[in-house]
């Protein structure tokens, strides 16, 4: 297991290599990337910032919980902070497990808990030159389902 908040570009292939083992029947790799449109606005980049010590602690807790729930130690997560361009990876999650379903479930658990709990914020840069902090609790797609 390994969990880190880093301020350099992520290398998904190296995380996959880090978890893979001959005992595994499946390895999954999740790569979250900067998308060019959010809520109808054209995005040109994102600043990610973190409450570093707490983010590291929460990420380590999420990974430890995934190990308990899904029964694999082979989980590695890196979340990047700083200014990212379109298409760059903000998070990489690699999981290896004897069984594919457990590997995929563990990976899904990690990304959903990261989005729910990690004290990390993103400020989107828009094509019109403005910048705004993203607030998922106020996003139109959230309001619609309430």
């Amino acid at each position: 297991m390994r969990a880190a908040i880093v301020d350099r570009p992520l290398d998904p292939a190296s995380l996959l290599a880090e978890v893979a083992t001959p005992a595994s029947g499946a390895s999954t790799l999740f790569v979250g990337t900067v998308r060019e449109v959010n809520e109808g606005r054209v995005v040109t980049g994102i600043d990610y910032s973190a409450y570093g010590p707490m983010a590291e602690r929460e990420l380590a807790s999420v990974v430890a919980e995934a190990r308990e729930r899904f029964g694999t130690e082979r989980i590695v997560v890196e979340h990047r902070i700083g200014t990212l361009r379109l298409g760059e990876a903000s998070i990489v999650i690699a999981v290896s497990h004897a069984r594919r379903a457990a590997a995929m479930d563990a990976q899904r658990f990690v990304i959903e808990e990261v989005k729910r709990r990690l004290p990390i914020w993103k400020r989107e840069h828009y094509a019109d030159g403005t910048r705004e902090w993203v607030d998922p609790t106020r996003a139109p797609h959230v309001a619609e389902v309430r």
């Binding site: 998070i91 004290p119 902090w133």
Partner: protein
């Protein structure tokens, strides 16, 4: 007690990276949130959570001298 409160994202943009608050002895997270909301009047900031010593804290938690206290606006990691 004097609390030094760390701020992030929209809250830091509006009020700076940290604020010092005078709170009564035995103050809870609820007292802290009320005091911070008063500081933010007119600034249109999202409702935050509070972290104490790097853990999300319930409203009835009593604050102690030396605690590391942070205002956590809605998170958007991943």
């Amino acid at each position: 007690m004097v609390a030094n409160v760390l701020l992030f994202a929209s809250w830091a943009d509006a009020l700076g990276p940290s604020v010092r608050l005078e709170l009564p002895e035995g103050a809870t997270v609820r007292h802290l949130l009320d005091a911070m909301t008063a500081r933010a009047v007119g600034k249109s900031l999202p409702k935050p959570l509070v972290a104490v010593n790097h853990k999300y804290a319930r409203a009835d938690l009593h604050l102690r001298h030396g605690d590391e206290i942070a205002i956590i606006p809605p998170v958007a990691g991943g």
